[in-house]
């Protein structure tokens, strides 16, 4: 979708990938959360981000810009849900994920997704085309480096991956992109 300067922010993955059949435990209500499928509510969108709580640079900026973009959308943002998928299941506890996501999106306005193990997480990131890596470390070492995809994904109510926008997309561009995708969904 073009931004104010006419630059395209993001792309529609082709061929269309269906991720709605995938799910991960939603720990929003605690450690033994029910599996939440990667599908938006009817007529809505699901914004999916792969990151980790202690990330100091990329994740906070992406989450802050997304939160600002949703604010800019006004009431239309009610149709958009945010799913944060932890790629650091060793350090990210359900409590930390909830505190972190409440900070950006308000209590209850998100899905805090945390796989039970790396195998389960890989099953999801493979289908999205997202990459992540946890640096090899000794047990108990808490200072390891985590790398991950900077892209943010958008899923529609049919569970189709309809858009991916790059790291650095501004809040107004996020709002414009989501509004356009919402309009497409309803037509």
């Amino acid at each position: 979708m073009p931004d104010s300067e006419g630059n395209v922010q993001g792309y529609a993955p082709t061929p269309v990938r269906t991720v709605g059949k995938l799910s991960l435990p939603n720990v929003e209500t605690g450690a033994n959360g029910a599996a939440a499928p990667f599908t938006a509510p009817p007529g809505g969108l699901l914004v999916v981000y792969f990151g980790f709580v202690s990330c100091p640079d990329v994740c906070p900026v992406s989450m802050g810009d997304l939160a600002a973009g949703l604010k800019e959308m006004g009431p239309a943002a009610d149709k958009v849900e945010v799913a944060f998928v932890s790629v650091d299941i060793e350090r990210d506890t359900p409590e930390m994920l909830n505190q972190y996501l409440s900070y950006y999106f308000g209590e209850g306005n998100y899905r805090a997704l945390r796989a039970n193990d790396a195998y389960q997480l890989n099953g999801v990131t493979y289908e999205f085309g997202a990459q992540w890596n946890v640096e090899a470390h000794e047990p108990g070492d808490r200072t390891y480096v985590v790398s991950h995809t900077g892209v943010t994904f958008v899923v529609n109510d049919k569970g189709q991956l309809v858009w991916a926008y790059p790291w650095g997309t501004s809040a107004p561009d996020i709002a414009a992109t989501l509004n356009e995708l919402l309009a497409k969904q309803q037509s």
């Binding site: 100091p56 900026v61 600002a68 900070y103 480096v145 790398s147």
Partner: protein, 172 residues
């Protein structure tokens, strides 16, 4: 105050007339002049300067309590005809337990971050420490960074010496 130990470059910055350190970067009258000027540093509400180095627009993103870490962004301008190196960064241990200079790199759509020993500030050049690139990482924040909060940060340059700046926490 607690400074990160990052090897010879930083030791050189602390002992400003350490001959080895000067040899590492530049041996010239101009460099010595810059070191001398570095002894008189100034700080203002957002930026500061020492010798030929000027640091402006010092901002930190607000952070959620669970995050535990933070990042500080700023602009460094070097008006000297010789390059300089940012070799150290520190904040009070009432702000964060450890401070490191970091670089975020993007390769194949994947973002990864790693500590670096130094960042080159080219002669007559400007380097942006910005999201997705270089930044000063605050590790183990004592309390979350709240919008409007300010705190002092010391940046050590090999030639120009120490610049003390005031970082301001912003929402985005």
């Amino acid at each position: 105050m607690k400074e990160t130990t990052i090897g010879a470059a930083q030791r050189g910055a602390t002992k400003k007339f350490n001959a080895k350190a000067i040899a590492v970067v530049l041996v010239s009258v101009l460099a010595l002049g810059a070191i001398a000027a570095g002894c008189s540093s100034s700080s203002s509400s957002d930026g500061g300067s020492a010798g030929s180095i000027k640091v402006t627009n010092v901002l930190a993103r607000s952070s959620a309590a669970a995050q535990g870490n933070g990042a500080v962004y700023f602009t460094v301008a070097n008006s000297a005809t010789l390059p300089d190196l940012l070799v150290s960064a520190s904040v009070s241990d009432t702000i964060a337990k450890t401070t490191e200079i970091h670089e975020t790199k993007q390769a194949g759509g994947m973002m990864s971050m790693s500590p670096v020993k130094s960042v080159l500030i080219p002669a007559n050049g400007t380097v942006e420490f910005a999201p997705g690139g270089n930044h000063v990482m605050l590790i183990d924040l004592v309390s979350p960074l709240e919008v409007g909060k300010t705190f002092d940060m010391k940046l050590g340059f090999l030639n120009a010496g120490v610049v003390t700046v005031k970082a301001k926490v912003v929402a985005e």
